[in-house]
Symmetry: C2
């Protein structure tokens, strides 16, 4: 990210202990006081809010390399729960020490702003998905998004494992578990995907993207 050696080592200094979070373990919960951001080293997480009547709404799935906790800066309290989808590992980044560094490493600050801004645009894309797309398009967009993120991390864009349950996917996409299941079956029948439990193979990435874009339908 364009930092010099000495900057890196100063950043390293403030990065706190690594912390292992077992599958289903809580990284933080809503209303916890905010002291750390978390960089995911390994594994996957989900973040969710609680609806007024106690159900959960998943607001994102995060993977290794992504940053957790930025929503908490505004009030010094976390605004959602973060739970590990599998055995995972994070680095704690004490936010007040990070802010001190910002004064002396402008590049670091700039990069941090980009990450927050990126989170804003990510969420805007989800709003678009939830507000505008039909079930089939939502689910295709979800798969395309996962695929692109794995590709960006050097993994296969066509073969990957879903770390979340059908229910969690449905929750995230504003659909029921039954709808997700039917969509998977439909995509499978049309030979867009090969599916085995949580193992996904994308057979027709182009068509899948077309469905996500709304250009095409998978009757």
């Amino acid at each position: 990210m364009g930092l010099g050696e000495s900057d890196i080592s100063r950043l390293d200094e403030i990065i706190g202990r690594r912390r292992k979070i077992p599958k289903d373990g809580l990284l933080y919960r809503i209303d916890d006081t905010f002291t750390n951001l978390y960089a995911i080293r390994l594994g996957h997480f989900k973040t969710f809010q609680l609806t007024p009547n106690g159900e959960q709404q998943i607001t994102g799935f995060q993977m290794a390399g992504e940053l957790l906790g930025m929503d908490a800066i505004s009030t010094d309290r976390h605004h959602c729960d973060a739970v590990a989808l599998e055995d995972s590992e994070v680095c704690e980044i004490p936010f007040n020490r990070l802010e001190e560094l910002f004064g002396t490493i402008p590049t670091l600050l700039h990069h941090f702003h980009r990450m927050m801004s990126q989170e804003i645009t990510r969420e805007q894309n989800v709003m678009l998905l939830l507000g505008n797309m039909r079930a089939e398009q939502r689910f295709a967009a979800f798969l395309v998004n996962l695929s692109a993120r794995y590709a960006a991390r050097g993994y296969s864009s066509t073969n990957f494992q879903l770390r979340m349950s059908r229910e969690e996917i449905g929750n995230y996409l504003g659909l029921t578990i039954e709808s997700i299941s039917r969509l998977l079956s439909r995509f499978k029948k049309q030979n867009l995907l090969r599916v085995s439990n949580r193992e996904i193979e994308v057979l027709e990435p182009v068509n899948l993207k077309a469905i996500a874009a709304g250009t095409e339908t998978c009757s």
Copy 2:
């Protein structure tokens, strides 16, 4: 916001010209290069993204006192269009000069982080609304949110004018204009609201909040 006099005057120095935007005027459009944040001095705006097939999805309504453009920091290009809902006025804030100030005014930096973080949580709440709520609840939540924001700015929480059309409300809430119209009629019939064109009077704020919370229904 806890800044000293001299800090304020330094901030004032970098704040660029005021800019008037007429109703329906464009403040910025998607893919414009990013140079300024905009503080709304007067009026209201909407921001929206374009769906892959060219329709718009409104991602937010902003009012005087709020900040526009933070989504553009990540890529130096705007990720949405911003359009004035009425004759409005903004202050341009050159972002690179703002970043220079951050180095010398930590309080300002901290405040800026809070604003970005607040935008993240705002969007998470919209995701909850779109992903979890039924039409009636969405619309009640929308009204309660507007009401609270006007109250926070010293205006009446029960009497205000909608600056956006029914269609824009529907677009934002993932509903059709017909649904919004029917919901307004229903709320009117139940004496929750008095409505005259875009003029709203909230007659039963408590019940409206209960509907937004999902505790109650308005059959």
